[in-house]
Amino acid sequence: MPIAKKDLIHLSDLTVDEIYQIFKKAQEMKQVLAGDDKKHPILRGKSVINLFYENSTRTRSSFEFAGKYLGADVVNINTSSSSVMKGESLKDTALTLDRLNPDVIVMRHGASGAHEILASHVKARVINAGDGQHQHPTQALLDMLTIYEHKGGFEGLKIAIVGDILHSRVARSDVWGLQALGADVTLCAPPTLMPSRADQLGAKISYNMDEAIKDADVIIMLRIQLERQKSGMFPSIREYAAFYGLNAQRLKLAKPDCLVMHPGPINRGVEITPEVADGVQAVIEEQVHNGLAIRMALLAIMGGAAE
């Protein structure tokens, strides 16, 4: 099962049909991961470069394991965006890496749209592991797989995404994907952390978390970066936690079987209380595991060895 487009930069580079095919492949990969031998070397002789201009624990390590479990040779390049501004341009890095003949380049970059530059200068297929405040398609795929496995589908599901929508690439990918699959999405943030004209994204907009999560089937909490408070985006962590944090009391407003999700890393006691993060409705670690499966599925398909 191929993916038609060369690169996965925006989640909309995938068709709905392709998204379901990726889910199917990811579930196969979960079978592999459940076995004694996690090596499934269908990418022997292929190579993957993980090019990370921003820090990452989950995304980078899961892409690395995904490539290695599938038998590909994986190289990790970690750099900081400050060295980019002083040193080599992204275009030159792209031209250099292309001559190493990778089959797939996975990149995370702090600037929105950076993947357009990379993709236009390399023959390798490009997978976006997060660009600025634009997109994080593999996070959305793992979020959607997690929901799919618990709920069996998306049609009519009420899903609230709560937190720093303005700066969130996860929200921008999720809102596109979840709506494409039929869910009913509400975005909730303090008004200073809601992007301009967010209503035109198709989702409902709310500044009131209690309203946003009422009768929700799924709540996706976003990480609030504590530096945002220092730059004046909201008055205090205390107030944020009280009005936009998920606690056990507030969670009762949602449906009893509501899933609690978070892309991590979590700020315990800020956007989510420990009892909710560790509670029975939370599937946060499951998301991490699904992230590995999704990335294995994508590399299997996009690495050129798909059955």
């Binding site: 501004m85 600037a111 929105s112 600025g132 405040q133 301009s196």
Partner: protein, 427 residues
């Protein structure tokens, strides 16, 4: 002597819009009329062509001194002639900035050596463009500065701006304001709206511009100073200027070809050649801006020609330099999008690109009346050609119009009685 025969001459200053001949003797226009004859003159047949006064661009960045890798006075004036502009005013944000007579004189000297378009340097309002102390406006004016601007670095303090306006009245000076509230700007890199939200790029709301337009109009009213608002891009800015003009404020304003022709939608795909300040706005702004140009609320077209190197633009959108190389596409853009489509008359084009800029700058240009300097541009109204940035004389290849098919290209330019552009190429 040169005799331009059978062209369609457009010159609203003398109510001319039809077939006429132009006789040039020495540096000046000797006669304009039907069936002119002149023994021994070089006769150029312009049947089917459109003849206009040489265009005047009151907003150009020549980059010299300091950033000769982006542009020089020579390449900038070559680009001007190639685009049909025979007079240009250049902004002071060079390195060092034009806050002293030496830089102004140096630009004038280089323009004289280039001997192409006339160059009118604009000097800084404040020393070092720092927005604190006023420059020596009277000395700068005596050295040749035609106006004052801290272009790109809006004077943020209202008290300093008021003082600049008051002081400049000593020479009936013109202040040109690039209107931008730096605090509200924040980290914005494109227009704020659904496109910035979808692309994950920092947004710049219209109010960044509108706030300072409102302030400067109020200060102009208070002081009686002449103020010119640079590159207006917003609907709100147009409304503020309209109201101020009705109240008798001495305000004029310009719009760029890119704000008249493009919207924020052009940013999709992250082409950094669309990154410009003020940013490309919404369609509703663009429509209002164009109507205002036709109505005369916006007085003129100016390019904000901002040449950059390839490496300044070949980077991530957020890191790319602001600006569009505009001199060599302005006339065909206006012709193709507005005149050829019947949305704008040829007289309106000449008013916006010749007559009004001359009046605002106070220069004896912008018309083809007998006795004036023979600065003339001839356009081919029909021949279509795709924009090819590699054909630019400007060092700045940064255009979002590369590949766009346009007509109305300048074919012939006469500057001070001398043919400097022939068949679209510099002589």
């Amino acid at each position: 002597m040169i005799l331009l025969k059978n062209g369609h001459v457009v010159d609203p200053a003398q109510n001319l819009n039809g077939k006429a001949d132009i006789l040039i003797e020495g540096q000046t226009i000797k006669a304009v009329g039907e069936n002119l004859q002149a023994e021994g003159a070089q006769v150029i047949d312009l049947e089917g062509k459109v003849v206009m006064p040489g265009f005047i661009d009151m907003h150009v960045h020549l980059r010299e001194p300091g950033r000769e890798d982006k542009e020089t006075v020579l390449t900038g004036t070559q680009a001007a002639i190639h685009g049909g502009f025979t007079s240009i005013a250049c902004m002071p944000n060079t390195t060092p900035v034009a806050d002293n007579e030496t830089v102004v004189e140096s630009v004038l000297y280089k323009a004289m050596k280039a001997n192409l378009a006339d160059v009118y340097p604009i000097a800084c309002i404040t020393k070092g463009q720092k927005g604190e102390e006023l420059t020596e406006m009277l000395l700068l004016n005596r050295a040749g500065a035609i106006a004052f601007s801290d272009d790109g670095r809006t004077v943020q303090h209202s008290g300093v701006m008021r003082r600049a306006m008051d002081y400049s009245k000593a020479l009936n000076g013109l202040l040109i304001s690039h209107c931008e509230d730096e605090d509200l700007l924040g980290g914005g890199v494109m227009n704020e709206g659904i496109v910035s939200t979808e692309l994950g790029l920092g947004g710049i709301p219209n109010e960044v511009e509108d706030l300072i337009i409102a302030r400067d109009l109020m200060l102009a009213k208070l002081t009686g100073c002449r103020i010119h608002i640079a590159h207006v891009s917003t609907k709100g800015g147009v409304e503020l200027i309209k109201k101020a003009k009705e109240e008798g404020v001495k305000v004029t304003a310009e719009a760029t070809p890119h704000h008249l022709c493009l919207t924020e939608e052009a940013v999709r795909g992250y082409d950094t050649n669309t990154k410009v300040n003020p940013p490309l706005r919404r369609e509703e702004d663009r429509t209002v801006l164009f109507q205002a140009l036709k109505d005369g609320i916006i007085d003129c077209v100016a390019t904000d020609h901002a040449p950059h190197t390839i490496q300044d633009k070949d980077v991530e959108y957020a890191f790319a330099a602001n600006g569009i190389s505009g001199l060599e596409t302005a006339a065909p853009l206006i012709w193709t999008n507005f005149v050829a489509t019947g949305q704008m008359t040829m007289e309106q084009m000449v008013t916006a690109m010749c007559k009004r800029p001359a009046e605002i700058l106070g220069i004896e240009k912008g018309t083809l009346e007998a006795g004036r300097m023979a600065d003339i541009v001839v356009l081919n109204p029909d021949a279509e050609k795709a924009v090819d940035r590699n054909e630019f004389y400007s060092k700045g290849k940064n255009t979002p119009f590369h590949g766009t098919v346009l007509k109305g290209w300048p074919e012939l330019v006469v500057k001070g009685g001398r043919i400097v552009l022939n068949q679209g190429a510099l002589c």
